[in-house]
């Protein structure tokens, strides 16, 4: 990488000659931001990537592309740095207050249904999962059909560590002198524990299989999901078997002048807890996507061979995507276990993986707001159709097909992906052939 950065930036002679009108120098943060923006833009240029893969030296990836003087920036753009987080915070507060809509206003029944705290908690849970899977599927381009495995691992970790498993097994064994576990301060550690367990599982699954092509990876991950579920079903003494684990304690924060106790399934505080996690994850994933790792993912997704030849550590980056997706699933799973204090193997059926994947694809792969929108659509649509109880999944299936036909790229396609789709040729020649006139022959 001879053309990389610093050596060339140390020759400022030409630039200073051309600047005729003296202007206030932008400060170092502004420069840095422009620099990153330019790198991002440069990354979209796949033509350059092709030249590079062929061994040519292409300027512009690791140095600012534009060297002409910038026109004065609009003051609104400068303000965006503050307005965006502010608007975001307001939006989160508004969304967090949604369950109170029905208590203060007279709203129609369908709106009551979808602003129910438990339904919204499910939306938040699925948003979290969709964000995690989006890293794997949307960013790194790996097809994971067994995402529910990480959910299951998180849930079972929580259920086992809180002592609910021991209690349930004792009850199943006919021992009625046991007491149900209660929440303890140390039990907040089940979240990091669930995260670690899921990450380890992700790495164990990923390291032998990430060399496989996408479709093989799909069936292997599907198999992994089924294996985890079947293990939970068969290892009775470890997981409670098909009868599951009951009485997982609800969390609480007591002390520090606080007395917050999470109640049953319907408690609005679960929704808030999940919402906080979602916000945290959105910020984290946003930063990741803009980082070096995010760019490595794009490179891998678009052309693995070219990326490898440019020195992107393929397997390590894929593993990172897998691990990040897995830890999201694990944490979400732990919250889920605490919320519905009962889990059993059928909870983690393949259909859940498929629904989460549908969230990502319907929202638009690689797009964060798309993942959240997709989760809302997938959870809320069946709720809206609840009036036609027997017909709802029937209509839902048809709706998925129709959305895919009319918006195959998803509702909120990511800009980066759209640019790639427009700029690049398809790998799959058949689709091109069909478009180019295969249908007329």
């Amino acid at each position: 990488m001879s053309e990389e950065g610093p050596n060339q930036e140390q020759e400022p002679t030409e630039v200073s000659v051309r600047q005729t009108t003296p202007r206030a120098q932008p400060n170092r943060w502004t420069l840095m931001r422009r620099d990153w923006r330019d790198r991002r833009l440069a990354f979209l240029d796949l033509r350059k990537a092709t030249y590079r893969a062929a061994g040519a030296t292409v300027r512009g990836w690791f140095q600012p592309v534009r060297q002409v003087a910038q026109p004065p920036r609009d003051w609104i753009k400068e303000r965006r740095r503050w307005t965006y987080p502010l608007l975001g915070a307001l939006l989160v507060i508004a969304v967090g207050a949604l369950p109170y809509l029905g208590t203060y206003y007279v709203i129609p029944l369908w709106l009551q249904r979808i602003t129910d705290a438990s339904v919204l908690a499910r939306v938040a849970l699925f948003s979290l999962f969709a964000l995690g899977l989006n890293v794997v599927v949307g960013f790194a381009g790996l097809l994971d059909l067994g995402y529910v495995a990480f959910w299951a691992l998180g849930s079972y970790t929580a259920a086992i560590l809180t002592g609910a498993r021991t209690y349930s097994l004792a009850l199943q064994g006919g021992n009625t002198h046991v007491t149900a576990p209660v929440w303890n301060e140390w039990m907040w550690l089940i979240f990091p524990a669930a995260l670690v367990v899921a990450v380890i599982a992700g790495i164990v699954l990923g390291s032998p299989t990430l060399r496989l092509r996408v479709d093989y990876l799909a069936i292997v991950t599907l198999g992994f999901g089924e294996i985890v579920r079947e293990l939970a079903n068969n290892m009775d003494s470890f997981t409670g078997g098909p009868r599951g684990i009951t009485s997982i304690p609800h969390p609480a924060i007591q002390g520090f002048g606080l007395d917050i106790v999470w109640g049953t399934f319907l408690d609005i505080k679960y929704y808030w807890l999940l919402l906080v996690l979602v916000v945290f994850w959105v910020i984290a994933i946003r930063l990741l996507d803009d980082s070096r790792i995010g760019r490595a993912w794009v490179a891998i997704r678009e052309d693995e061979v070219a990326a490898a030849s440019m020195g992107v550590p393929i397997v390590r980056m894929k593993l990172a995507a897998f691990a990040i997706g897995a830890c999201t699933g694990g944490v979400g799973g732990a919250v889920y276990a605490l919320q519905v204090p009962f889990i059993n193997p059928p909870t983690f059926a393949l259909i859940q993986s498929i629904l989460i994947l549908s969230c990502v694809v319907i929202g638009g792969m690689g797009s964060i707001r798309g993942a959240i929108f997709g989760a809302a659509a997938i959870v809320l649509l069946p709720e809206l159709f609840r009036g036609f109880l027997d017909y709802r999944f029937f209509v839902f299936g048809a709706a998925i097909v129709i959305v895919m036909i009319f918006r195959p790229q998803g509702i909120f396609p990511s800009k980066r992906r759209t640019a790639e789709l427009l700029g690049a040729q398809h790998d799959d020649q058949l689709y091109d052939a069909a478009r180019a006139g295969g249908s007329t022959t």
């Binding site: 299989t209 479709d215 093989y216 599907l222 839902f396 097909v401 020649q429 058949l430 052939a433 022959t441």
Partner: protein, 328 residues
């Protein structure tokens, strides 16, 4: 481990028989996956519903058309079996064509990314499953009352065939149903092999699987090839559905396609996806592995064994046993 080996040895021929019958059925379903994957590089997730429809037609034919309540023998049995087999194959084949027409072709024409095909397939799969849940005689689709065929609960299928031993091999009794399964499966696989290797349409299928663009330039009608591929896959799944119900004697229900579906897809990947002979080999192998794992670990561990074997095989041979044959 010693217990495992000794129990397999003790039940070797019994389990070989079970594995072969189940494996033949997996192989027939796997062909649908593998052929569609060969030409379109698409995991046809709704293929399990193509299989499910055939089991429902079996139920309908035996219960409502032929009014089979007691096992029958002689020429009557042959008429009933053929009279059920042909509608099964037709229904599944037509459903597969309809899937292609309504769930995949519009996406293909728009040049959609590959994952949206998968999601569309999943949507179609949900649609079909719940369509059959609604078929209990009390629900309407617009103004049409749906017939009373299946409904939400499992429906037992009357068997037209009494189980009897045809011959005994190495002390293992082989029943007439299992012989029927093997004969029908072998016959259909043989015919399929001839169709794919000898006929003009078969050549078209192979050419599209190799290089669709060039094939279209050479005058191959891609759309027709794809429709035919779906139809052939559907026919195979249709036959497999009837045989599955007949030999296992299980009731049919709306979710019945799921397990055979993922097993068959596993079989297709195991043998090398896109590869027709690979699918047959993978199906038989998967059936055998599952059967041998029953005396060894117990019946509830078959799925885990099957997937572990899949991962192990893919680690050694990343494109399946016989290698893949798909469009580059």
């Amino acid at each position: 481990m010693g217990h495992c080996v000794s129990s397999i040895v003790a039940e070797f021929w019994d389990q070989t028989r079970n594995g072969l019958t189940l494996g033949a059925i997996y192989a027939m379903i796997a062909l649908g996956y593998t052929m569609v994957y060969g030409v379109l590089q698409l995991i046809n997730f709704a293929h399990s519903e193509v299989f499910m429809v055939s089991t429902v037609v079996t139920l309908y034919a035996f219960r409502d058309w032929f009014n089979v309540h007691n096992p029958i023998t002689g020429p009557g049995l042959i008429v009933v079996l053929i009279g059920a087999l042909i509608p099964c194959m037709l229904a599944s084949g037509l459903l597969a064509i309809a899937l292609e027409r309504f769930a995949y072709r519009p996406l293909r024409k728009r040049g959609a990314p590959r994952l949206s095909f998968l999601i569309s397939a999943i949507g179609a799969s949900l649609f079909l499953q719940y369509l059959f849940v609604l078929m209990d005689g009390h629900h309407y689709l617009f103004i049409f009352r749906l017939p009373n065929i299946l409904g939400p609960s499992p429906q037992p299928v009357p068997s037209p065939m009494a189980t009897s031993t045809v011959f005994t091999l190495f002390g293992t009794a082989v029943s007439n149903k299992r012989v029927l399964v093997l004969v029908v499966a072998l016959l259909m696989l043989f015919v399929l092999d001839i169709v794919v290797t000898r006929t003009k349409m078969g050549r078209g299928i192979r050419s599209v699987a190799q290089d669709a663009e060039t094939a279209s330039m050479m005058g191959v009608n891609i759309d027709r090839v794809i429709v035919t591929t779906f139809f052939i896959g559907g026919i195979m799944a249709g036959a497999a559905g009837l045989l599955y119900i007949l030999v296992l004697g299980v009731p049919t229900y709306w979710f019945i396609g799921f397990i055979p579906g993922i097993k068959a897809f596993t079989a297709a990947v195991l043998g090398g996806i896109g590869n027709i002979r690979g699918a047959v080999l993978g199906g038989l192998l998967l059936g055998m592995v599952e059967a041998y794992s029953v005396p060894c670990f117990g019946a509830q561990w078959t799925t885990i064994t099957a997937f572990v074997v899949l991962v192990l095989v893919l680690m050694v041979r990343p494109t399946g046993i016989l290698g893949e044959e798909v469009a580059a």
